[in-house]
């Protein structure tokens, strides 16, 4: 690990100006990802701006939304009464992630910004466009069993890694905004616009501008309670990243689906919101047959590498399984 300088701002604006003054500095909160990256030589910021002491932990309900401070711990959010009653999908996704120990350290803001767990990204001796732009994608012709099957249209991706977060898959399915503080004050980013696809600049995970600091997320109230499910398929029962995960939420009335949300994890460079399927489900009575039809139809756009062709079928099956549970059909 390279030696670094440690800074501790007292306010959000002080933090932002520290970041602007030190373009290579990085914010650190729970450190559950950044410390690993520093130990493996993937990130070597000369300065760390520790934001843990900023007042950004609050979880509250305001008007039509839950507002969750960026420093709220994953474990606290998952167990919070407001989240459990109003956004159970989010609680479920959080509990599917990492381990109890990590959730006790990891923050919501940090979870949004965690970097891919691709083996090629993690080993400085191997090529990786995300870690070292222009060095090539090691996974493309290598071991790509856990890699992406959805890309930005037909463009050739420069990185086939997937976004590792479970929480983000649930947030992608819900109506979420990310509140950030920057040099020009506060702005809101729609969740779908926070993460980027990997076509040209894979080293850039998000659309955040230099110095910007996530201060909270806001999730709008909805009518999905009782009809949502987060399904995570993984190689072991706990403490494993998703091979494929599905956040499914339905608004049901009179035996029909009135609104549907579907987001996938483990399949793309960012949490993959499946708008097309949502539209196809609206107005339909739920059935396994319907779910299978929409899932398999839509997966024609997926593209697999040497080791991850199974993901196409697995994604369809996982969508069917998650939708069945959300709809309450066995």
């Amino acid at each position: 690990m390279k030696p670094f300088q440690y800074l501790r701002p007292k306010t959000v604006s002080e933090a932002v100006s520290m970041a602007l003054d030190n373009p290579e500095a990085q914010y650190i909160a729970g450190g559950t990802n950044l410390i690993d990256l520093m130990k493996r030589g993937i990130a070597s910021p000369p300065k760390l701006i520790d934001i843990n002491h900023l007042p950004l932990k609050k979880i509250e309900h305001r008007y039509d939304r839950i507002r969750i401070g960026a420093l709220a711990l994953n474990s606290d959010v998952a167990q919070h009464k407001l989240v459990k009653t109003r956004q159970p999908l989010l609680a479920e996704a959080l509990l599917a992630g990492a381990s109890g120990q990590i959730r006790n350290m990891a923050t919501v803001g940090g979870n949004l910004l965690q970097r891919t767990r691709c083996s090629y990204f993690y080993d400085v001796a191997l090529p990786c466009n995300k870690r070292k732009p222009g060095s090539g994608c090691g996974a493309e012709g290598g071991i790509n069993r856990t890699h992406a099957i959805f890309f930005n249209g037909s463009e050739v991706p420069s990185c086939i890694a997937v976004h590792p977060s479970d929480m983000c898959v649930a947030l992608a399915a819900l109506d979420t905004s990310v509140v950030v503080a920057g040099p020009a004050g506060e702005r809101r980013i729609l969740f779908k616009d926070l993460h980027r696809l990997s076509t040209k600049e894979p080293e850039m995970d998000t659309t955040l501008n230099p110095g910007e600091l996530i201060t909270s997320i806001e999730v709008l109230d909805n009518a999905f309670t009782g009809h949502s499910h987060y399904l995570k398929v993984r190689d072991r029962a706990s403490y494993a990243f998703a091979l494929v995960s599905v956040a499914a939420a339905l608004q049901m009335d009179g035996g029909k689906i009135w609104d549907a949300r579907l987001a996938l994890g483990g399949v793309a460079h960012k949490p993959w919101r499946y708008w097309a399927i949502e539209l196809m489900l609206r107005g339909q009575p739920p059935s396994e047959k319907l779910f299978r039809e929409v899932a398999e139809h839509e997966l024609q756009s997926a593209r697999a590498g040497e080791h991850n062709a199974y993901k196409i079928k697995l994604t369809a099956n996982a969508m069917i399984a998650a939708l069945k549970i959300a709809a309450g059909i066995s």
Binding site: R117, L126, G138, G142, D235, R236, L314, N317
Partner: protein, 751 residues
Amino acid sequence: MKRQFADNELDTSLSRVDGNEKVSGAATYSAEYAVPGLVHAVLVTSNIAKGSITAIESREAETAPGVLAVISHLNAPAVPGWPALKQPAERAPVGTAFRVFYDAFIYFDGQPVAMVVADTQERAIHAAALVRVTYQQETHQTHFERNVKSAGIPQNVQRSKNSPFQDYGRGDADAIAEAEVRIEAEYTIPTQHHQPLEPHAIIAVWEANDKLTVYDKNQGVKSAQGQLAQAFKLPRDNVQVVSKYIGGAFGSGIRVWPHTIAAVMAAKQVKRPVKLVLGRDQMFTSVGYRPYTAQKLRIGASKDGRLHAMVHEGTGQTSMYEEHLERTVLATRAMYTCPNVSTRYRLLPLDVNTPTWMRGPGDATGMFALESAMDELAFALKMDPLEFRLKNYAETDPERNLPWSAKSLRECYKLGAEKFGWENRQIEPASIRRKGMLVGYGMASSLYGFHRHPSKARAVMRADGSVTVQSATMDIGPGTGTAMTRIAAKVLGLNAKKVKFELGHSNLPDAPGQNGSATIPSVGSAVHVACEALKSKLIALAVKMSEAGKSGGQVVVTDGQGVRNGRVFGSGADDEGVSFADILKYHKLNELEATEESKPGPERDQYSMFSFGCHFVEVHVNPLTGEVRVVRVVTCADVGAIINYKTARSQSIGGVVGGIGMALMEHSEMDHRFGRYVTTDFASYHIPVHADIPPIEVYYVDKPDVHVNPMGSKGLGEIAIVGVAGAVANAVFNATGKRIRTLPITPDKLI
């Protein structure tokens, strides 16, 4: 059921004698000794798999803060036990253990090429990243399947006619063709790593120019002592090896690995004690692994289920510089009665580091294949797989034509099947569903050869009647100290609290390393005979004392019948006996000592000796996602008398957990373009977590094997894992109708 090693029903197990130290953090592991003046070494490893080093640019590292030395083949202190470098330099011939910092050749990716020594570990890690190594790269071969045609008979086997790895045949080699029902299948086990939670670590201290002490994680302090003495050309007694607590090893500590030699070199070079701890990623290329192994089985039976022929071929991988051979195909010769059996074992050298023994070495690999094949043939015969095994039960050793010293596998099968509820199994796959999950039952047998090596133990009784027993044995987790305490306490008729057992130091009486399930049979026997000798001395002294009429005024022990509750008793009905402490006091002895050696005798040629066992597994498979969860395991072992149920049970559970990992998740995956592993952390190399482990029921037949040793106990460590992967794979087939022959069984293989 009567417990063989217990005096009565109330005599329950001992808890771990070192349990408190371990859970409270008081136990000192190899990397934790507070040695004054300690500095830290970090290895720099190669990122090519074959070639040679052309330059090492170390100036930046040398001038980094806190750095004391950068060591490589260019400046490493000579290891006097190694031959002088030849000119022109040549690659090491087969059979040469890897010599660290010896020459410029690269034999595998992850090979140590330099080492930084600094005042703190952080500074050493930082400086290690500043060392720039350039290479002349050569084309490497690491891909097993692409190279398998180059596999051959190991040189080792070519040289030795009596090698057990020679091609073997009994009966008719072509008999398989005439079997009424037969199957043919290929099974593959990928490379799997031990990855104990405690990484390998060493602190090397040169006490004087010719005196070395190392605190090293290993599985045999005596063999490490010998190997280090040889490498550094020191008298054996000038080298001391300490390894008292070990956070798991599973075979990774049987050899002295290059990093241990490197740390000793570093300590010599900087003239300070040096600590070296392997990083998790370095654990993949520094300490061996279970080798990638491909197997082909053809087995056939008559329509009524009698085995007619078995042909078992296995090929394992090894490095270019050493041959590592495993028992892969050997179990097939001894497990079942079958008139026509042939086996063949081949080795494929690749540009990788040398594999090593990993729990149930060879047998866990071979029995996965054999027990899967048995399940496949039972299915083809439309026969219950347990019934099929019973029908081919070997009453004597079919390979050596010798009687078993003892075999209660039939009782194991019966007990296991009963406890598991095997009769509820459906022969037709995918016929049970519960809560949307496919339910499957599977079983497999287990066996492991009996090993007993010469061992010594010393038992010392102090004035207060308490006893310290010592032997240079190890505890890599099974609870060696606890079991030995129990043996000593039983022989001496003492409360276990009055017994202390010392291990893990090379200055203790000679004992083998902990491997091959040999510790209880070997060291347990030594403890037994040492304590028997001590007991005899006590009785003789007590008799002398009684003869003199000084044991409390009356003669109580005329014949010295035995010991109980810390006293020697005679044969009289109301005999009160005399306490050990009084015996020593009367004879004015501060202590009473007995050292004994125990070794196997001619019984090895008269009997065939094995531990046996079986596992029953229930899995649930999600039909949509292909996820397999083991929901219940019953394991049953036939290992002679059980010394201490509580620790034995833990050992059996640990073996099953390892087997579940082997079956469902462990896979060291390499990108062959680079010859480099890409699963080098616990996020990508999966071992089971608590959520993967169901209730595991453990049962023992607990009948002493009177031919093996004084306790009648055989080894348990290996049979706990051997067969488990097969039982899981068989249960997956029963649940889904899909036969997965390449481990691990991950969701992608099932959907």
